[in-house]
Symmetry: D2
Subunit: 171 residues, 4 copies
C-alpha cells in the first residue's frame, strides 16, 4: 500500500465503559479495518480502547495505532504501533488531530467528552455513536451539525463520504 493511510479515531471510556459501548467499539474497529483504514485509539488495555483494537485485529493486514498517556506498561496487546506521549491526558489533543474522523462512543466519560469537544474546536469530523441523552443534547448545542448515529455501519457511511469529499486525501 502506498500513500498516507486514512485514520479513524475511536474514542470512549476506559475503566467505566458500559458493555454496550465495548460491543459497539469492537464491531466498529473490525469494520474500520475491513475498509483498509487505520484504527487509532488512546491505546490503553481497557474498555473501548481495548475492544476497538481487538476488533480491528480480527482482520488480516489491519493496522492499529495507540496514542498512550504514559509508558509501555499500559498498552493494549492488539496495538501494532504504540506512540508514547508522556503527556497524560494532554495526549487527547493528539488523538483528535491525528484522526480524519473522530468517533465518540457513548461520550459519557470525561476523557471522551474532552476529545469530542477538542474535535469540534479543531474542526475535525466528529461522529457521536450511541451517545447518552445528555451528551447528544450538549454536543448538538455546541454544533447542530454533529452527526449522531446508532450503529457502526452508520459511522462507516459517514467516514466514506468524508473520505470521498476530501478526495481520499487525508486531513
Amino acid at each position: 500500500m502506498s500513500g498516507r493511510r486514512f485514520v479513524i479515531g475511536i474514542m470512549g471510556a476506559g475503566e467505566g465503559a458500559a458493555a454496550s459501548e465495548v460491543d459497539l467499539a469492537g464491531a466498529l474497529g473490525e469494520l474500520v479495518a475491513r475498509q483498509g483504514w487505520v484504527v487509532l485509539t488512546g491505546g490503553r488495555d481497557v474498555g473501548v480502547m481495548r475492544a476497538a483494537n481487538r476488533g480491528a485485529k480480527r482482520v488480516p493486514g489491519s493496522l492499529t495505532v495507540g496514542i498512550l498517556p504514559s509508558g509501555p506498561g499500559e498498552v493494549a496487546s492488539d496495538v501494532d504501533v504504540a506512540i508514547f506521549t508522556g503527556m497524560g491526558d494532554g495526549r487527547n489533543v493528539v488523538n483528535v488531530l491525528s484522526s480524519e474522523v473522530v468517533v465518540a462512543v457513548g461520550a459519557g466519560s470525561p476523557g471522551t467528552a474532552s476529545e469530542a469537544a477538542l474535535a469540534l474546536k479543531s474542526r475535525r469530523c466528529l461522529v457521536l455513536l450511541a451517545p447518552t441523552a445528555e451528551a447528544r443534547a450538549f454536543f448538538l448545542a455546541l454544533d447542530p451539525n454533529v452527526p449522531v448515529v446508532s450503529t457502526p455501519e452508520d459511522v462507516i457511511d459517514i467516514a466514506r463520504r468524508h473520505h470521498a469529499a476530501t478526495g481520499g486525501k487525508p486531513g
Copy 2:
C-alpha cells in the same frame, strides 16, 4: 508574600463569548484578585480571558497568568506573566492542572467544554458558573457532585472552602 500562591483558573469562550459571560468573568477576576489569589486564564486577548484579566488588574498588587496556545501576538494586555506553550489547544490540560479551582464560565464553547471535562478527568475542583442548560445537564451526568452556581460570589465561597479544606496548601 511567601509560599506558593493559590491559583483560580477562569475558563470561557474567546471570540464567541456572550456579553453576560464577559461581565461575569470581569467581576470574578476582580473578586479572585481581592482575595490575594492568582487569576489564571488561557491568556488570549478576547472574550472571557480578556475580561477576567482586566477585572483582576483593577486590584492593586494582583497577579494574572496566561497560558497561551502559541506566541506573543495574542496575549491580553492585562496578563502579567505569559506562559507560551506552543501546543495549541493542547495547552488546555495545562490550564486545568495548574488551577486549584477551575471555573467554567458558561461552558457553552468547545474549548471550555474540553477544559471542564479535563478538570473532572484530573479530579480538579470544577465549578460551573452560569452554565447553559445543556452544559449543566451534561456535566452533572458526568459527575453529580459538580457545583453549579450563578454568581462570582458563589465561586469565591466554594474556593474559600476548598482552600481551607486543603489547609491553604495548593494542589
Copy 3:
C-alpha cells in the same frame, strides 16, 4: 503480523541536512524496513526525515510513522501514518519516547540535538550515526556509554542486540 511492532526513530536535520546525512538516512530507513521494523521520524518533507521515509518505502510491506509538529501541509509523501501533535518542537519528546532505539544522524542541528539529549534524559537507547566531532564529544561527556557508529549496518547490529536483550518486547 501480530503483536506490537519494534520502532526505530531516525532523527536528523530538516532544511539544513548535509548530503551525506541524507544518504545515510535513506540507507538506514531501507535497512530498518528490511528487518520488519517500523521507521519513525519527525515526518516533515525535508532532509533526513524525507530520506528515511523514502528509503523505507523501497521495501514492500514497510511501515513509516511520522510525528508532525503541526498540520497535514508538511507531511512527507512516504509517511504511511501521520500523527499530528499540534505541539511544534514539543513533539520531539514524543519522537523519543515512542522509539525503542533513537538514532541521531549527524546530530549537528538544534532539533536533533534536543532529541538526542531527551533520549538520554528518558533513558532510551541512543545511537549517534556519523556525528560531528563536537556532537560526539558533547554526548560522550553526557554519557560515556553512548554508542557512536559510522554506518547504517552498525545501527542495525546495535538495534538487533537491543531487541534481543529486551526479549523482542518493545520498550
Copy 4:
C-alpha cells in the same frame, strides 16, 4: 506594576548539579529578581532549580514561576506560581518558549542540553553560563553567536541589552 513582565529562564541540572552550578544559580536568581524580572525555572526542589528560586526570594517583591513536569509533590518551596504541565520532559519546550532570555547553567546535563538546543531551535535568546568545555564547543558549533559568559552579572548585561533592543516589550 502594570504590563507584561520580563521573564528570565534559568535552566540547569537537578539531582546531579555541581556545587558551583548551584552557587551560580542562586546568585543569578537574586540578581534577576533585583531587576524586577521574573525568574522562571523547571520548578523542582533540587539543584539549579531550587537554588535559582531561593536566590530570587531573598529579594522582597520578587516573583518566581516554576513549570513542573508533573504534580505538586515536587515543587520547590520558593516557587510562587506553579504551572503543572503533566508533560514530563515535554515541559522543557514550555520553559524555553516562555523565557525572553534562556540561561543554561553549566549545560552539562541532558535536560539542560535539550533546553539549550530547543532555545536555539525556537530562536530564543540563549546564554551559556559557565558551560563545560564540551558544551561550549557543541553549542558554538550549532550557532557561533551564542554568548558564553562566566558570571551572573554578565547574564544581566546581556538580558538588559536584549530587553532594551526589544523596546522593553517581552518576546
